[in-house]
């Protein structure tokens, strides 16, 4: 179920990228896209009724753990996403400084 939700988010993000002509909105769309992606990554590691992958003294089967790797991955991915967003915003500021607008259509042909 969560996978469908994340795919819908990804789609929304792409749709936003397709239709928006505003720098800030594009960055937001990008974020939506990334959130969808991250959700999807987590969903891959999900095991129904699984335990947290922490070795305790109890003799539980390894198979009953949820997959820990995607969680690790998603952390990295989120960090990178934040970095990109920050960079994007910085560029947005530069764009604004240069053209005085966030609307790409109003900037004229480069």
């Amino acid at each position: 179920m969560i996978q469908y939700a994340s795919i819908i988010l990804i789609m929304l993000g792409l749709y936003g990228l397709l239709t928006n002509r505003n720098v800030i909105k594009i960055i937001i769309s990008l974020n939506v896209f990334e959130i969808g992606l991250n959700l999807f990554i987590i969903s891959v590691g999900y095991v129904d009724g699984g335990l947290a992958p922490i070795l305790t003294g109890n003799s539980t089967s390894v198979l009953s753990f949820v997959d820990p790797l995607p969680h690790a991955l998603v952390l990295t991915s989120i960090v990178i996403g934040v970095g990109t967003t920050a960079l994007g915003l910085a560029f947005a500021k530069k764009i604004y400084a240069k053209y005085g607008t966030y609307e790409i259509d109003e900037m004229g042909v480069e």
Binding site: L14, L17, L69, T84
Partner: protein, 461 residues
């Protein structure tokens, strides 16, 4: 010595350089020198980081990555050296980029590859921001992010099917688990698109024009030379050892063929020197990936080497030329080489090599490509390559003649002695390798075997 140093040293120096801006440039140079030194001393093998063997991140040093590392580091070094003035502000970014580039070439882990891709990407955005075209850079950022996002999506899908991210293990696992090809189509396509954005493949490359059109010598050599080579080599490794193209191979081939054709045709229709070169670069990368997709590793590597050397010469000289004359319209640059004969010589040699004329390295490459294609009986593809290279030759010859022969007043530009020397050495290298290629072909001979060995032995575990 451990190859991780190749990544660690630049990263460490990057942090140090933030602390003291003054030492940024020396640090960069030291890091580059160290890296170049390391590249020529590390030994082949599989290095696992943190001792997690196949569960952790592995770095693989084989003939393939070794050649890639040598070429990339040396060119990176020379680029920085010949563009000292522009580097200043970007030292930290370049250090990060160096780490990313080396990481891309070394890593044997799909997710790690994604991380390095993003590192390289972000540094590339920053480098191009020096062009004072924020919108173009922003476009690059958006597309790059979407591309790497798609790559990530693909690799997660792949992970969910195979349960591993180790590049050497994916193919064997697919075979073991007998995963149907139709399931694999989507993840591989996603990864292909993701990398395709960075590798400038057609329809995913609308960023290239904006970025390279206004780039100076440093930016253009880094983006079109160093980064493009790295991405191509990474792409090549994935295509040869990880991807199972299967049902999507037709789409992939069409994309690559169209990239090639579109690049050359667009270059043919261009009137500005940087535009011509950037479109030509697009076409070349299309060809390189096309060769990898057909399993022709040796010709592809040769082409990559020829490409980075000639692109270095072409873009450096063009960058200096545009700086000096303040124009990149071919019409107003007519006859510039009549005042700068040495530079003109290097430029000419590089373009003749790109066209693939004999006595130059490009010719050997072309011959190799065609021989390999024909031994696979790829009649259509080789015909396309020939047609495309005819178009390429046409506009390069046109360009050369215009740059050597003036009609009216001739603009002048100054080039440092260092740039002259480096471009000349590269040009002579193209000639020497065009006449005598044996050492290179010998060292390339073992590449495909070693690549396959890594998979066959399941990464030596």
């Amino acid at each position: 010595m451990n190859p991780v140093l190749l990544i660690a040293i630049p990263l460490l120096f990057a942090f140090l350089s933030i602390m003291n801006k003054k030492f940024a440039r020396p640090l960069l140079l030291v890091a580059l020198l160290l890296d170049v030194y390391l590249v020529f001393t590390i030994s082949k093998g599989l290095y696992s980081i943190g001792g997690f063997s196949q569960y952790g991140i592995n770095l693989l040093v084989d003939q393939y990555s070794l050649i890639g590392l040598m070429v990339v580091n040396v060119v990176f070094f020379l680029t920085v050296v010949t563009n000292c003035k522009e580097v200043k502000r970007l030292s930290t970014v370049l250090l990060v980029a160096l780490a990313g580039v080396n990481g891309l070439l070394l890593t044997n882990d799909l997710f790690n590859l994604f991380v390095f891709l993003e590192i390289v990407g972000i540094s590339a955005y920053l480098i191009t921001s020096g062009n004072k075209r924020p919108l173009a850079t922003f476009n690059y950022l958006v597309q790059g992010t979407v591309g790497s996002g798609l790559y990530l999506l693909g690799l997660i899908l792949l992970y969910s099917m195979t349960g591993t991210l180790n590049m050497a293990l994916i193919l064997p696992t697919i075979v073991d688990k007998a995963i149907p090809l139709s399931n694999l189509a989507l993840p591989f396509m996603l990864m292909f698109i993701g990398l395709g954005v960075e590798a400038k493949l057609l329809p995913f490359n609308s960023w290239v024009k904006g970025v390279l059109q206004n780039a100076n010598a440093l930016t253009s050599v880094l983006i079109a030379g160093v980064f493009a080579t790295t991405i191509a080599l990474t792409f090549g490794r994935l295509l040869s050892t990880v991807f199972v193209l299967g049902s999507i191979s037709n789409i992939v081939l069409v994309i690559l063929a169209v990239t090639m054709l579109a690049g050359e045709v667009a270059a043919f229709a261009s009137k500005r020197i940087r535009e011509v070169l950037l479109f030509s670069a697009i076409a070349q990368s299309g060809l390189i990936i096309l060769l990898f997709a057909n399993g022709l590793v040796i010709p592809a590597i040769m082409l990559i080497i020829a490409n980075i050397v000639s692109k270095y010469i072409l873009f450096t000289i063009t960058g200096k030329m545009v700086d000096g004359t303040k124009t990149d319209e071919i019409e107003s640059l007519q006859g510039v080489f009549s005042k700068n004969k040495l530079v003109g010589f290097a430029f000419t040699v590089a373009s003749l090599s790109v066209i693939g004329l004999p006595l130059f390295f490009g010719f050997i490459v072309k011959l190799n490509i065609l021989t390999s294609l024909f031994s696979q009986y790829q009649l259509f593809l080789s015909a396309l390559i020939l047609v495309v290279s005819l178009i390429e030759g046409t506009y390069f010859v046109k360009l050369l003649i215009k740059l050597w022969y003036s009609v009216g007043e001739v603009k002048t530009f100054k080039v440092d002695a260092l740039v002259k020397v480096v471009t000349l050495i590269f040009a002579l290298g193209l000639i020497v390798f065009g006449v005598y290629t044996k050492p290179l072909t010998d060292s390339l001979m073992t590449v495909p075997e070693e690549m396959m060995e890594a998979i066959a032995e399941r990464g030596n575990f």
